[in-house]
Symmetry: D2
């Protein structure tokens, strides 16, 4: 039913229909450099397992990936330590934001899942402990998956993260006090701040996530990047934990595994069909791109595909 | 790739492989009548959108559906009030069990989702408020979906629920104190206790959920039972909220939308392919069937289908 | 230093100085009959261990004692079961209001202390289980301590409590589900609703609490009502738990053991000197009489006595 | 009734009666240097407002004061900023330990009271921000109050605190992320770690707290050290918040304002009579000296004085 789908036309329709959504969200304010991003930026990219690519608007402009980078470090950590990771971090949705430190305290330093900040810090620690060039490996993975050798860390964003990172520092020391951080706190934080500051475009991200829509194989050259089993699991984690506290609402409205970042990006996959990325900086109260979520909802509604 | 799948053979393999899992869980102990169920009961049923049915073991023996009934009342409530339901109940996973009353209190009487007890009580209240014969409608829906006119409420189980229902009574009065229960507390509880006491077999349940695997259409006669949009949403809710506090782990290991009950049943769907139900009374610590979860994990691993 | 204290003059000064505080609080709104009380009512009564009594304003007008009644049931429960009570209820302050059900859940049905609603329900259950005429005994104790045989339950207030008692019903069923309620839920609630509806004046209450200022002995006739040890303990409980979530602030500003009710009454003792009761219906955000707290703060400041 | 009290004899009796309590608690294990303290150490010191001093056992041996130091920094902070302190820290008991970070998160960085770690860090920050020689001032105050110029910080304990201070670092960064820490995190922590490492004896501490039993006046020379009002408030805070999560139980059993430390010390006052300090390193589950609490309970029972 999807063979004849004209994704280009669908993207054009979405572009028109989301116009009325602009101005209803708020650009992330926690670090000044993110706050300065023009709120009307809007881009989309779709990559199909058949090799097609469709772009819309600012699809090739790099933005701050923020929490989307947690998928890259998760890929590396699973490659380095496999299922041992799950002794140090859970796989359950976290409930409300309000619970973040509550649950970490109640569960004695075992974060709920790899996508909340506490869990991502444990994942990063795992990478740092197994890889002396951790940051370079993260950047290298993003470059290899996207095929874009120019991807880099935005130094100004990283500096800003570092300067305003007291909550992450608090979480990291809390994990350390529960012996759930092996490397030095500042070392882990440094990689974490830099990975969040990766600058990538919608096209870069859609390409990077395409293997997750294709059972772990890069469609272009047929190279297997991840075992099929791991792809299923990363997708499951994204669907149940990938959208901060809006995960249930996103599944309900959009219905695909995806990961968002406070830079306004959301990248997702429809297994066996395509990967898709949207960027729009205005966020809803749960911290997810407001227009981006609407755009993805329109996409799965118009194309009539979702995982459900 | 699934056309040639021999589901009968897969079920046989699963039957052998789960043998070593028996004895590791615990039959639900909160009401005596459930505790008396033989722990080694095991049945499976698969119904495909193509019309095939595959049965294994005790697949035709009725058991207490418990929380699985929440899907039936949700179907009715959405039919009666549509999206208005979401003003009274959320759509987000609840985090840990430990949070149940915490969150209900913190969020001033708006339950996290329709599948935790508080949310299910609001859903039942919604049905009771719109339908003088609420219980009869619930039973009628189960009969119509399963094609089994003999489905009924187990009076002894209902009596037992009523006698040991203090926690649900506490939750119902709490909802009432926040004006999120329209009907009388005891009236809502009575329907709730009885719906949980519905007795159905794996086959009954797999047949009942088949329309959810087929975009809302009953495969047999092509009759549309639910709009496609509603099917997508019920499936999304099951995937993010259907397995109590084990929802993330279940998505990770099994990867399909499903709903469990403390009677030991789990029923799920693989959209566009099939519905599947398993019954095994021993529960894991999160309250889901231990052997049942393993059986479903083996099923999606062996058949290589999941929503991811 | 207190021998020459002219308490009458101190009360007059307070009366003038609290005038500007009226209108800043809110009369309890949770049941209509309390809401109808004129907000400017103001009375005070002081009873000294030497036998003096000083009255001010509406000191002889009966008002709804509400939670102050919890001290009477605590006296009875300690008489009936002694230290066994502490197996069923704690002795620690409860932290914030926000924690009420949270902590009850986290601590598996053992309320934090006898003065939060959950704890008071356990105390009442204790009285009900040991005394077929529980309510009559509570009223009898209030009459005997105050020397006022006319004290009675206000039937309209009791009816209103019953009609709006869903939160207390919720708590009672929660306790029952944790086996921390021996008698029938509705039986305990009935006594509880009626004891809260006791109508007493400032003078009644100050007289009733005088033995707690005099090591357990009624000053008038020298009769020992409670062992000295029990007096110390009830006073300690009032100081650490008697003012809802304002206990720390009250100790800080006023510095005496006291118990408040949402009817606007606060009754306290200065051990070895006097008992004191104030009534003013407007409440502060923690549910304590706003003008009443101010009046007591002025009293301990002007007389320079507190327990500290 | 207290004039003729032979405190020396009372201490001797207590010394005999507490023998059977040894071995039932556990020496603080969170830093190695505290763990090494001999568990049977036991000392008591009583200083009366009349100028008498009574010593028992190891009353003159210095131990690690730990949280008792929070009273000294509170004294300085109140001297520096007065009531402004209460905009940054509350005055209410904290409920259970389990809530520490929960409440700090729920209340957006305003600690419950000055004696939980978060509150004490804010108090120390307040001192550090107003006093370039903060630590020297803290040590100076301890020396002046105790009359012992030899009081100093135990460098090994301070080093150990620093090395194992991840939880305090976590809390400090959390406060910083809520803008409730003015000075640099590491600067505040450094003073905090050192103040906790102050080494003082029972006699030093009882002497230091004597002005709190004497309305702010040093009995020896009649010098006023604190306004009477501040003494009342510090005593109120100790009674409602001074014993970690055992504050209600301590008030119930002992009934005096006091402050404990995990080094095994507890120092308290009976206003208008005396100050008292006990040291015994074995702690109960709430972190308070087990034998020390028993000794103080025996003291108030035998002497029949408490604030109640």
């Amino acid at each position: 039913m999807h063979g004849a789908m004209d994704y280009g036309r669908v993207l054009e329709e979405i572009s028109r229909e989301v116009q009325r959504e602009f101005g209803r969200g708020k650009v992330a304010g926690y670090i000044p450099v993110l706050k300065a991003v023009p709120p009307r930026k809007f881009g989309m990219a779709v990559c199909t397992v058949d090799g097609d690519e469709h772009l819309l608007g600012d699809a090739e402009e790099a933005f701050s990936v923020q929490s989307i980078s947690k998928v890259f470090t998760l890929m590396l950590a699973l490659q380095y330590v496999g299922a041992d990771l799950w002794r140090r971090v859970g796989r359950e949705p976290s409930g409300t934001a309000f619970n973040s430190l509550v649950q970490l305290e109640a569960e004695r330093g075992i974060p709920r899942n790899p996508f909340i900040n506490a869990g991502a810090l444990v994942v990063t620690d795992c990478v740092v402990s197994h890889d002396a060039a951790a940051l370079r490996s993260v950047v290298g993975l993003a470059r290899r998956l996207s095929g874009n050798a120019g991807i880099h860390v935005d130094a100004e964003v990283a500096r800003s993260e570092r300067a305003h990172g007291h909550l992450n520092r608090s979480i990291a020391h809390f994990l350390k006090s529960h012996n759930n951080l092996k490397s030095k706190v500042e070392e882990v934080l440094e990689v974490y701040f830099q990975q969040c500051a990766l600058a990538m475009s919608c096209l870069d991200l859609a390409r990077s996530f395409l293997p997750l829509a294709n059972e772990g194989v890069m469609p272009g050259d047929g190279q297997r990047l991840f075992p099929k089993r791991r792809v299923k699991r990363i997708n499951a984690l994204m669907l149940t934990c990938g959208l901060y506290d809006g995960v249930g609402d996103f599944a309900f409205r959009v219905g695909i595994p995806a990961k968002s970042g406070v830079g306004g990006g959301i990248v997702g996959v429809i297994p066996r069909f395509l990967s898709i990325c949207v960027w729009s900086p205005e966020l809803d109260p749960t911290g997810n791109s407001l227009v981006g979520t609407k755009a993805l909802e329109l996409f799965t509604t118009k194309t009539r595909v979702s995982v459900f």
